[in-house]
Amino acid sequence: MFDVQDNGGKKVVFVKGEVNAQTGSDLKKGILELYNSASSVVISFKGVVYMNSSGLREIIDLLKSVNKLKKELKLCEMSADIREMFTFTGLDKVFKIYDTQAQALG
């Protein structure tokens, strides 16, 4: 479902395949665990083929939890379709979204 890379104290999560209710929930749990050893996580959507509103809901839930922890969550490398989902729901105003991994890490 996802790979993790350590990048100078920041974790980069590379999500693969579909993000739906089931995979989204697993992804949320997995990423929340990463905050035990990191203050900032970047999620790369480069490998995401499909995402639906249930998956999106899990990502919103993840952000809520991250904000409670007073830690940082950034998103990057979205396809035009995934980006459009964030724009359509207005969530592009809620999340920190970057075009590239380098910008998100910067």
Binding site: V49, N52, S53, S54, L56, F88, T89, G90, K93, V94
Partner: protein
């Protein structure tokens, strides 16, 4: 003294009063060298609406003295008037100029919601540094009559995840002002407030264009198993706005029921632009049969549907339908060929690109142009083919070919650009050739430019030649 130093650890903020005498600024600059352990110094011009040009020397001294003590120097909150003075003195690139909303009071920040250039950034800042003071101000705004302020106040509370404001935001769903309803609908969707879903359906069913999309988005975020069927019923609404909003919500929900209902709607829908939205929606589902629907759409009489179908085939990279797509390149309707080629650009490999090149002589101009564009997207070196079509009568094709040549084979691009820069009848092509030569910088480039400068009859090409000559 018309300036004030405030230190926050290794960060120093220098606040300057309005009409600060330049002598005071000079004093401030001198003081910097005596400071220790600073990493960043910010000169905040929030209160300065004008600056004397001689005061700029003091700003330069501040930067120099900051560097001397090893600190970065920035100038923040520069208003348009001051920026213009700095621009006239060529200093805008010398200084790092930033916005620092932390210098503003909460009232001043709320006022910035009225300024479209600032509103989004101010909202982000408030959400990022949310406090009880900000919360109280935003709630105050919700009692005011100004729609713009209320819109940003609601969005800001949403961005800040202020769930304690949920009940207050819900009340705004009854507002007469679509902008306010839109903000409330979006935020309640972000909050996952399922209790508002019924009300949001009512908002969608008004068919008001300004709020329907937001309602569709939030319904999808709040959806459960029952929503696909309910949205499906809206696909037969008399209102086009409602039908499109329902399609958008169902695309986001993206389950089996939604797919089945959208597929059925494609057979019943009468309006071409809604059908095109349906085609795009269907292409977002990872289901068997999607590519068949899209191939069928490629033969539609409607250009909008053909475009949506080609886009869909490219999006799903329909390799299994490549033969069907390629066979349409030479269709008697040139637009079918055009969209088929568009899809090929995203799907074909170098081997299959041969089929595009062999079709080139059999198709009309718009398809020819699409072939050159598609080849540019396919990995491989097609420069031999490009060299054979450089004499095409269409200037757009010659221009496009030059760009593709540069991508595939720099040596051939150089040869072609030198020839077309000197001889092509179209200034658009000569201009493109010049852009390519500017990148390659061939031997004798300067002489080539000088020779062309005297004979070229295009103002645009001459201006470009002058600019390149100055640069080299």
């Amino acid at each position: 003294m018309s300036y004030k130093f405030t230190r926050y650890g290794d960060f120093l903020k220098i606040m300057v009063e309005q009409d600060a005498p330049f002598k005071d600024l000079e004093d401030a600059a001198r003081e910097i060298v005596n400071l220790k352990d600073l990493k960043r110094i910010s000169l905040d011009l929030k209160n300065c609406y004008y600056i004397q040009s001689k005061a700029l020397a003091a700003l330069i001294a501040m930067k120099k003295n900051s560097i001397k003590i090893g600190a970065e120097f920035i100038v923040s909150n520069v208003c348009d008037n001051v920026y213009q003075v700095m621009e006239m003195a060529n200093l805008t690139s010398y200084f790092t100029i930033e916005e620092d909303f932390s210098s503003y009071t909460s009232d001043e920040l709320m006022e910035k919601f009225f300024q479209p250039d600032y509103a989004d950034r101010v909202s982000d800042f408030i959400a990022g540094s949310y406090s009880d003071e900000f919360r109280a101000k935003l709630l105050e705004i919700l009692e005011m009559p100004e729609p713009e302020l209320k819109f940003y106040a609601i969005l800001t509370m949403g961005k800040a995840h202020d769930y304690s404001a949920e009940e207050r935001i819900k009340k705004e769903l009854d507002s007469d002002i679509p902008l306010i309803v839109k903000a409330s609908v979006l935020v309640l969707g972000w909050f996952g407030d399922s209790g508002s879903k019924e009300k949001i359906y009512q908002v969608l069913e008004t068919g008001n264009e300004e709020v329907a999309e937001a309602a569709a988005a939030s319904i999808s975020l709040l959806s459960d198993e029952s929503d696909a069927e309910r949205l499906g019923r809206l696909l037969s609404s008399h209102s086009k706005v409602i039908r499109i909003a329902a399609i958008q919500a169902m695309t986001l929900i993206n389950d089996d029921t939604c797919f089945g209902l959208l597929k059925d709607a494609l057979d019943k829908e009468q309006e071409d632009d809604v059908k095109a939205v349906l085609i795009r929606a269907v292409s977002s589902f990872n289901k068997a049969g999607v590519s068949d629907i899209l191939i069928k759409g490629l033969d539609s009489k409607s250009i909008k549907i053909r475009e949506a179908s080609a886009g869909g085939l490219a999006k799903i990279k329909a390799k299994d339908k490549l033969e069907d797509i390629i066979s349409r390149i030479t269709d008697t309707d040139a637009w079918v060929g055009y969209f088929a080629v568009k899809a090929c650009g995203e799907i074909c490999s170098a081997t299959e690109a041969e089929r595009l090149m062999s079709s080139y002589d059999k198709v009309e101009e718009n398809v020819k142009l699409a072939i050159v564009d598609a080849l540019g997207k396919i990995p491989g070196d097609f420069s031999d083919f490009y060299m054979t079509i450089l004499d095409n009568g269409n200037e757009d094709i010659r221009k496009e070919v030059l760009s593709s040549l540069l991508h595939d084979n720099k040596e051939n691009a150089k040869e072609a650009a030198i020839n077309l820069f000197a001889n092509d009848s179209s200034w658009i092509v000569r201009y493109k050739a010049l852009e390519i030569l500017e990148q390659i910088r061939p031997e004798g480039f300067r002489d080539m430019l000088m020779a062309r400068l005297t004979v070229d009859d295009s103002k645009y090409v001459k201006d470009k030649i002058q600019a390149v000559l100055e640069e080299i």
